[in-house]
């Protein structure tokens, strides 16, 4: 058998490879100590909080008060104060539920899936993305709960032994939602908290005041940073990542089933599960950037949330945006291909009916606007990127609005109707922003918003070393 030949000089004869510099995971000249100071000092308030923190917290808290007013009014007079009607019986409640729960998905994707895929760039954004997930799930949960009309009986949704002859209807995706969302919320909180334990340990040892040392000490659950602790921590963290990964897919798939199991034209679409999951990641990354861009500027975190992170998030947003657009194409394409009278007509109504403006708004927001992200300098321009994120968040809200509003033009004209939200719908929705930003700003103030320990693990690579190679304490 003929064999290959060995070059005499022992080197390739091909052209020298074009070697690109590695992207920057941590900028500046950081050491183990300076990483701790730069992130920990924000949580322990050694570094004063910027004026904008107070402004956002103030607005958030005010809107949260509006939320309480909306809930109080709703509980006093019932769901009749909303704009819901027949045929649009879900209205804002389901639009906002899906929108918020979708936003949460990016946090879990960044924390769990990117961890399993060994993506280093997740490290500086996973912590606040996880917090975003938890607060988004909280906001999402409010809507179906209140839409029940009698939220104090929400426990009937669980299959518990009782003498009312009551049991959940397990063929209903609404019952699946209960399990999906509660599981998702629980796992997200545990995952987030487990990741925080070593950081709480660091803050316990470095916080300036006694109260802080005591509080962080309690929260760190006796963390000593021993080899045993690290071993168990790494194992638990990996297991939780494994549990969280299927949740990214299952939760929004089940949310999509809320619509797709029906036989309403354009709701009964088999592509809905992956289409919803991708849409959730799309809007979630828009929210991650919406939060990350101001935070890194206000707190001077450019060394940790580098252009590399921003660029990657923008690319994910662009990619998922294209996939979502593919979903829009598939919906229309399949409605036309099937030549089904109702599918075709409902599609026509969606595109050119009385609510057609909302469809074209979503096409602009989710397909056309993200196209600017093809150009790298625009991806790295925080102002352009921020505006795109806002547009995408609006677009993804409209996506759910368009789905829900389909009910106003389905099947027979005698079934047709219209839908308009009332001031109480709007106040409740805007109020959830208040809840979200109040909690998020409190998180930024008291909890390390970037993982200190994980950033320290990245240091050897940033300092020119590799995995397993140590670097000396102090600036290199």
């Amino acid at each position: 058998m003929a064999t290959g030949v060995l070059a005499h000089d022992g080197h390739h004869s091909s052209a020298p490879p074009h070697v690109e510099p590695l992207p920057v995971a941590i900028g500046g000249q950081h050491s183990m100590g300076s990483v701790c100071d730069a992130i920990g000092d924000i949580a322990t308030c050694v570094k004063p909080h910027p004026k904008n923190w107070y402004i956002v917290f103030g607005i958030g808290f005010t809107l949260a008060a509006g939320f309480l007013v909306a809930v109080t009014y709703l509980l006093t007079y019932g769901t009749g104060v909303w704009g819901i009607n027949v045929p649009t019986a879900w209205g804002f409640a389901i639009i906002n539920f899906v929108w918020w729960i979708g936003i949460g998905h990016a946090g879990t994707l960044i924390s769990a899936i990117l961890l399993l895929l060994h993506q280093r760039w997740r490290t500086s954004i996973n912590r606040f993305a996880e917090a975003m997930t938890i607060f988004a799930v909280m906001c999402a949960g409010v809507f179906p709960l209140l839409h029940m009309g009698r939220p104090w009986l929400a426990y009937w949704l669980f299959p518990f032994p009782n003498n009312f002859a009551m049991y959940p209807q397990f063929r209903s995706p609404l019952a699946w939602d209960v399990f999906a969302v509660t599981t998702y919320g629980t796992v997200s909180v545990i995952f987030w908290y487990v990741g925080l334990i070593p950081d709480f340990g660091v803050l316990r040892d470095s916080a300036p005041t006694k109260i802080q040392r005591w509080a962080y000490g309690m929260l760190s659950l006796g963390w000593r940073g021993s080899a045993y602790h690290w071993r168990r921590y790494e194992k638990v963290y990996l297991i939780l990542a494994g549990i969280s990964t299927p949740l990214v897919f299952s939760v929004h798939s089940i949310v999509s089933f809320d619509f797709a199991v029906s036989i309403v034209p354009l709701w009964h679409a088999t592509i809905f599960p992956p289409f919803f999951v991708i849409g959730a990641i799309f809007s979630g990354f828009a929210m991650v950037l919406f939060l990350a861009l101001p935070l890194r500027k206000w707190y001077g975190l450019e060394d940790f949330i580098t252009d590399w992170h921003i660029d990657n998030c923008a690319k994910v947003m662009l990619g998922t945006g294209m996939l979502v657009s593919y979903g829009y194409f598939c919906e229309v394409w399949m409605a036309w291909y099937s030549h089904s009278l109702y599918e075709a007509d409902t599609t026509w109504q969606r595109l050119f009916g009385p609510y057609g403006w909302s469809y074209w708004t979503l096409i602009f927001c989710n397909f056309i606007a993200p196209q600017v992200l093809w150009y790298r300098p625009w991806r790295l321009n925080p102002y352009i990127l921020f505006v795109v994120c806002v547009i995408v968040l609006i677009g993804m809200w409209f996506e759910r609005y368009v789905i829900v509003i389909t009910l106003t033009r389905e099947y027979m004209p005698s079934m047709w109707g219209r839908y308009a939200p009332t001031v109480w719908d709007w106040l409740l929705y805007i109020g959830t922003f208040g809840i979200f930003f109040t909690f998020f700003m409190l998180f930024v103030r008291y909890v390390p918003m970037i993982s200190i320990t994980e950033m320290r693990e990245l240091l050897p690579k940033s300092a020119g070393g590799q995995d397993g190679h140590s670097i000396a304490e102090g600036p290199p």
């Binding site: 004869s13 490879p17 074009h18 089933f257 679409a269 291909y337 099937s338 030549h339 089904s340």
Partner: protein
């Protein structure tokens, strides 16, 4: 530097070495292909003459084989494009198999010609629309109603119930318009040619640009070509996604009169992805087994684990897509869609469905979950072969249950023979393309070397 690493760096492939390495399996593939086609003809002729199968079944068998093998070329466009956009070591290892897969696209067009023939076969065609004439369905509906009434009387008399009757409701689907506007033989055949041209154009652009990026003597021209790869990859993904939707609709979904599922193109894509990736893996494992110095050293068990995990991901995705489609159609129970699954859950097909669930999901899932399975080249090779077989059963499942087989028949022997026939010739052509260029891109070897030597 270890001896193995030094050998990898110093080793240079010659075309003679490549041809000798690949000529053995190439010859075998051609012989299998010829034997497969002979068997296809003999079995088909025998079954048709014995009345155990009809001409339609003969066509179906070919379509199954064609769709399976052509999906490798399509899938390679996806993987190569994704690699250019996202990077990663897996793409460097897989580049040559994927490029060779892409270069079989023109050969795929030759294999497509009989499918065009099927589109013009009129009433004998497997495509219902090939022999459909406007106004026909009204007549058929009236006739169907009479038939139904007769059957109902018969069943009442016999005290039996037959599920087939459930599938004949009054549907709100305009078949005449569907055929006139889209599913007519001329337009469908022209579209088929267009798909080949568009996908072929994208492949040609990607491949010619890759040649410049790797081999251009002008360093600046090479740099421009390498930068262009990202854009070529992006265009490739968009073209792939759109073409996949049209191809799966025209060539497969249109076999069913009323079935329309937006998930179906995604399922076809996922099957194509598994087929392509498993085929690429088998190529790499073969080269490693034959002690090609690059693959011995640069395709270690750790890389096998990474690549095997991709197969696991696609297997999980297959389950997710199929379950979602099945559950939503089952729960919707609409007369336009449900016949698709009624046909696939009766007359013995229900057992086939269970077997597929076990071997297309549970078994590969359980195997690919474990690192020692993925790191053992022999076990991994068998997993890849197994996946190719179950992917074939999937293509079989999309098409065959659409046609009712009244009598017990071994018609499926034709499908298997056609699969070997088309496949043997296809692999022969593929290996010929693979032998034309170095089996790893020499310009990027340093990335694999750096990683595998711990730098």
């Amino acid at each position: 530097m270890s001896d193995a690493a030094a050998n990898t760096t110093a080793f240079q492939e010659t075309p003679e070495y490549r041809h000798e390495l690949l000529s053995g399996p190439r010859t075998k593939a051609l012989l299998i292909g010829i034997a497969g086609f002979v068997a296809y003809g003999v079995i088909g002729g025998a079954l048709v003459s014995l009345g155990q199968a009809d001409v339609q079944q003969f066509m179906i068998a070919y379509l199954v084989g064609f769709l399976f093998w052509v999906s490798m070329s399509l899938g390679s466009l996806f993987f190569q494009s994704i690699h250019y956009v996202t990077g990663g070591r897996w793409g460097i290892l897989m580049r040559r198999p994927m490029e060779a897969h892409m270069r079989t696209w023109a050969f795929g067009f030759v294999l497509f010609l009989p499918v065009i023939g099927m589109m013009f076969a009129g009433k004998s065609s497997i495509y219902w629309w090939a022999g459909h004439h406007p106004g026909e369905h009204e007549h058929a509906a009236t006739e169907g109603k009479k038939e139904e009434e007769k059957a109902a009387h018969k069943e009442a008399a016999e005290g039996s119930w037959h599920r087939k009757n459930v599938t004949k409701p009054n549907l709100e689907i305009d078949e005449d318009r569907k055929v006139a506007e889209y599913l007519n033989p001329v337009f469908t055949a022209v579209r088929g040619v267009l798909y080949f041209l568009i996908v072929g154009g994208a492949m040609f652009w990607i491949l010619s640009n890759a040649m410049k990026a790797e081999n251009s003597p002008d360093e600046e021209a090479g740099r421009i070509a390498r930068n262009r790869q990202k854009y070529a990859g992006t265009v490739g993904i968009v073209i792939f996604a759109l073409m996949m939707a049209f191809i799966s609709t025209d060539w497969i979904m249109s076999l069913e009169k009323t079935f329309a599922s937006s998930m179906f193109p995604v399922i076809v894509f996922d099957n194509a992805a598994i087929i392509t990736y498993a085929s690429g893996m088998l190529t790499l494992l073969y080269l490693k087994e034959k002690k090609h110095p690059h693959f011995e050293n640069l395709f270690p068990p750790t890389e096998q684990i990474h690549l095997g995990s991709m197969l696991l991901a696609f297997t999980l995705a297959w389950t997710y897509f199929n379950f979602s489609q099945f559950m939503l159609i089952w729960i919707g129970n609409l007369p336009e869609e449900i016949p698709y699954y009624l046909r696939r859950t009766t007359n013995g097909w229900q057992y086939y469905a269970i077997i597929m669930t076990v071997f297309h999901f549970f078994v590969p899932f359980m195997l690919l979950l474990f690192r020692h399975v993925k790191s053992d080249p022999k076990v991994l090779r068998w997993v890849c072969i197994g996946l190719l077989i179950v992917c074939f059963t999937d293509v079989f499942w999309w098409i065959n249950p659409t046609f009712i087989h009244e009598n017990f028949s071994v018609y499926w022997l034709m499908d298997i023979a056609a699969w070997f026939g088309v496949g043997g010739v296809w692999i022969w052509y593929y290996l010929g393309q693979l032998a034309k260029r170095p089996l790893l891109p020499t310009r990027e070897l340093y990335i694999l070397e750096a990683y595998n030597h711990g730098h």
